[in-house]
Amino acid sequence: MRELIGTLLIGITLGSIYSLMALALVLVWRSTRVINFAQAGQAILTTYIAYEIINRTGVFWLAILFAVVAGALLGAGIEYFLMRTLFRHADEGPVAAIAPVIATLGLLGIIRSVVGMIWGNEFRSIAPPVSTTGFVFNGQPLPFSMLNLVVIIGAAIVMIIFSFIFQKTDLGLSLRASAFQPEIARLAGIRVGPIRTIGWVFAGAAGAFAGVLVTPNDILSPNSLDVLLVFGFVAAVIGGLESLPGAVVGGLALGIGVALITNYISTVLVFPSVFIVLILSLILRPNGLIGSKRVRIA
């Protein structure tokens, strides 16, 4: 029982991080119809910025703040300078759909190399802001620590802020309208261009937050967030790629699944299982776990 509770809590911790990354990918997908592979690069760059700030000030929370702001600005910059240029140059045919995605892969490579040039390729670490010793339950330690709790609470706060913005504000309505039917949104007077940039801003901030939250439990290197990108992507697909709640549910389901397999079966099986789930979910529930139906009208 104790072991199961511990495993589930670890699963929820992992899942919160996957959810944040999935949210970042879904936000970009919804605003510009691009799968942003560069998200891992954006997050690694901002995590190194956080690392520098922690080294200089020792204040973890300040580092998170800087990373999130940097992530938001980086997202805006990529959308404004790279994506818009690509959309202008390839605006018809099959190339138009795939060119931006390939460009994000290229950007991922560029950012990783630049990070490697600046900080080197050796493993570094970010000192945890709170204890990593497991809580004690019934006199015995759990694998679940204060740091994990902070991760869950931090991710939950971001999700609550996002759901408030999306469901309750004019900006949120503009973001949703532009995502679902950009043409009708424009005819209603919404400036879809800047709204797209804001989608990338939120995504950049969420990805940056995920990067800084996950790293104290892990190591930091120019490609240490690649696995997070893959899991975030799988979580987004499980959630239907289109839905923000779907991304959260997909992330949590994936995190719990990964924790259960790691603890009860074998770490070796984690990756194959994740990809089997990815393919099964595309076959069985292509619209996502909670079925965000996309209704096409003529």
């Binding site: 503009s174 309208a177 679902f180 005819l187």
Partner: protein, 237 residues
Amino acid sequence: MSSLLVSNLTVDHGAIRALSNVSFEVKQGEITAIIGANGAGKTTLLRTLSGLKSPSNGTVTWRERNILNKKPEDLVRLGISHVSEGKSVIPELSVHENLLMGGLWRRNRSDTNKAIAEAVELFPRLGERMEQSANTLSGGERQMLAIGRALVSRPKLLLLDEPSLGLAPLIIEQIFTVVQRLRKDMGMTVVLVEQNAVSALAVADTGVILNLGELIAAGDARYILADPALKSAYLGF
């Protein structure tokens, strides 16, 4: 008084000429019906007027101001709202959100709420379904919602693309009655694109007939309805 002036408008879809040298005027406070068969260029004309499509040649002025190549979102701010073909609502949003969307650009929520109340007064069925997803609406209700959304932007010129498409006669009548009220009670200028020529000309002041991208005739709707040559050649009845 002329409010919208279209001169020598030519629009191409790649190699295909969709509109060729079309000129006509829309008078302030009138309903102008644009009629013609499939492929006549009606929808292209409306999409060019609302900024969704760039023309190859010609000019369009709205209240003595050149509006060609302006973005649709800017034209909304100048008082031009377009209800595009096929019930232009966002099914993923609620009825209320669809209406609210038309007023977001104004940033004055109380004015928008008033405009929403006015739209609901015109289409009371929307009022009963405010919190439902637009996805649950019938075709007629969707069309009402699409027009309602445009009205929340408080347009001076309303562009309607085939509001009767696929709807039952009773619903079409309701929608056309509202269009007439907009003209009579609010002095709104309306450009109505229709395949349903008889119903459209019956409510319109002026008729414009398009065929294969060219203007065939423009003039008083009653005369067009009464002209046997136009009737048999282009209106199909």
